[in-house]
């Protein structure tokens, strides 16, 4: 027989075995799972996402949040450590309060894509909606994670927020972010050289007046150094007439995070 045909058939057969075993069979086993309903009148679990939550899932997906955060709680048999008394224990995920129990396939039946994740640069989020139900916390944390945890290495997401001028009353959705975090040098509204020139041209004298009001020296804004010093001053001075509010993406993402309530309801198939 032609050697090419032997290689082809062999390659086909070996590969098909894995295709059947790892794709077709799991699909047959798991493809038809239904939500769990404990008794009459009780809410089925899980429930599908809707509206803003669904939009937020897309934001989560398109920004690759999954590459630092898993959404799976491992079983109590995983994660061995020795406690202070020298006793061997397991179940680190549950002990870290990532969930009440391990997650099972039924927790994910409405997920598309199913973003299990394989990396925990940040903590697991399977159950973040239960663990931290404060939308205000999530917003300030997303705008600058260092405002919540100084050691955090999570990216800031200023592009989920809009800085706008307060007209009339302050929005009750405006973030209450500590002043030192609003001047995060990474924020989008740290002006570029051109933008800063524009601001100086428009509001220069007014800003210099603000500067001199508090100290003895003055600033000469016609020099590059003067402009730079004024910028530092501007960045570290609270702007009472501006507020930061979430945009649609920011709102949606937080809605999604709050909807993440996996491993919250006991399931018959997840006893441990």
């Amino acid at each position: 027989m032609d050697r090419g045909m032997v290689i082809f058939l062999g390659a086909l057969l070996t590969f098909s075995s894995s295709w059947l075993g790892l794709i077709v069979f799991p699909y047959w086993q798991l493809g038809n799972e239904k939500p769990y309903q404990k008794g009459e009148g009780e809410d089925p679990y899980p429930r599908p996402l809707s509206g803003a939550e669904l939009a937020g899932m897309k934001v989560y997906q398109h920004n690759g949040c999954m590459y630092c955060h898993t959404q799976q709680v491992r079983s109590a048999r995983f994660g061995g450590w020795t406690d202070a008394d020298g006793v061997e224990r397991t179940g680190a995920d549950i002990k870290r309060s990532y969930g009440l129990r391990r997650t099972v396939s039924r927790d994910y039946i409405y997920d598309n894509p199913t973003m299990l994740g394989t990396m925990r640069t940040g903590p697991d989020l399977a159950n973040i909606g239960v663990r931290n139900p404060s939308d205000a916390w999530h917003h300030t944390h997303l705008l600058n994670p260092r405002s919540a945890n100084v050691w955090s290495v999570m990216p800031s997401f200023p592009f989920f927020y809009t800085r706008e001028k307060v007209t009339g009353a302050r929005s009750d959705r405006a973030l209450a972010l500590g002043r030192e975090w609003t001047v995060d040098p990474g924020y989008r509204w740290r002006p570029s050289d051109g933008e800063w020139d524009g601001i100086v041209a428009k509001r220069g004298p007014e800003l210099v007046a603000q500067y001199t009001a508090g100290r003895a020296e003055s600033i000469d804004i016609s020099t590059a150094d003067g402009k730079k010093r004024l910028l530092e001053f501007w960045l570290t001075t609270p702007e009472e007439d501006y507020q930061v509010v979430p945009n649609a993406d920011g709102d949606a993402l937080v809605a999604y995070l709050l909807a993440l309530r996996k491993a919250e309801v006991p399931l018959p198939e997840a006893k441990e």
Binding site: T14, S17, Y27, H62, G64, W81, Y108
Partner: protein, 484 residues
Amino acid sequence: MAATAELSQYDRAKSAAERAAIDASCRGPVLFFASAAVLWLLVGSLLALVASVKLHSPYFLTGTAELTFGRARMAHLQAVALGWATLASMAACLWQMCRLSRAELPYPKLLYLAGALWNVGVCIAVFGVLLGAGQSVEWLDAPPAAAPFFVTGLGIVSAWVVAVFRRRREAHVYVTQWYIFGAVFWFPWLYLVAQFVIFWMPVTGVVQPIVNWWFGHNVLGLWFTPIAVGTAYYLIPKIIGRPVHSYYLSIIGFWSLALFYAWAGMHHLIGGPIPAWLATASTVGSMMMIIPVLAVAINHHMTMLGHFHRLRYSPALRFTVFGAISYTLVSFQGSLMSLKWYSETAHFTHYIVAHAHFGAYAFVTMILFGLFYYMVPRLTGREWVSSRLIRVHFWCTSIGITAYVVGLSVGGWWQGVMMNNPDVPFARIVLYTQPHLLGRSLAGALLTVGHLAFAVSFAANVGGWGQRRSSGPTLFAQPAGQKA
């Protein structure tokens, strides 16, 4: 390779003319694939640096949605896996298949179309991800719009490889041809199934990550691995002028790889919400991988035995042997990692990232570099312009990837140990990994310097800017007893 000494002057001239004709038929399309690959390597390196620096300096380039960590990381993988490694692998498939089949490349112009389509696909993948259309499906982050370009481009290349194989004038089918033949058949099937099941008709729930890891792991195992292993099978004997240690072993190696590797992906989901039998089946597959790895290791290293001094002279051999040794090491590590007790610590940490780079870079990429140093001069008829540039390339990449893998493995392992202990606050783990991640960025910068040296060498050679050398191949040093 048999009985070279008995070949008459006439036969030698004839076979040299035949090789020249084959190289001439490959020149255009193969160099097109190779050039695009080198460009994507540079793009991928920059994206890698951006993503890596962000992990220890979170204010770096913050505020730019396009370059936020998640997007840069997805784009990096698309650029290096589909841009660099796949385009280079396609060049490797086409040229080696022609050489080994002793057949010229038919209708080379259609291959330009295949290359162009594939590059359009990579552009859509990389820029689509950066602009916010990433899919968060590992290895398949490209926006679905890229798929038709990938499928068509890949289809043409695969068809051409088969066409060349069918036109072969050489009766003996060499083991490299087996591997290439397998790869160009497996990869399109893998890609189509994964696209279909994840994007076109999405399956529910955890079946998606199952398919995802079947794909993600098999891209390495059934596309990059066979091509890189096959390339090493071609280059090592060719350069040292000695047949493969055991032909019988090479066949065992091929079939056991085909049978076991395809089963190995599920350990990425160990302890996850999938049926336990799946992870167990995969662990068995991973452990059985010791057979093909051992077969290949014996073959590659025993062929080299007694010829290691040649590493002093030959750039192509040095890169290839570095890759072959890495293959042995990374595969044994991979088998180990499929075990539950091991994975319990390594899973979810930077240890996995280190392992992935060990495989995709220290093994696959280094062998592809080796192939470039051997293949390109034969295609362009021009030698490498500077042995110093090659030396910079070799030392930057070999030291860089070693530092990368060792540093990040250690950091990742302790990260896992601490993560498994709920008494350790998360803050301490994050702070602990920082120096390791900084080390990763430095190692990555070193790799990028190497890539720049490689790109300059490559451009000078292909662009015809360098001097045409007549004194023989560019070597690191002059072999003893041979005149310049």
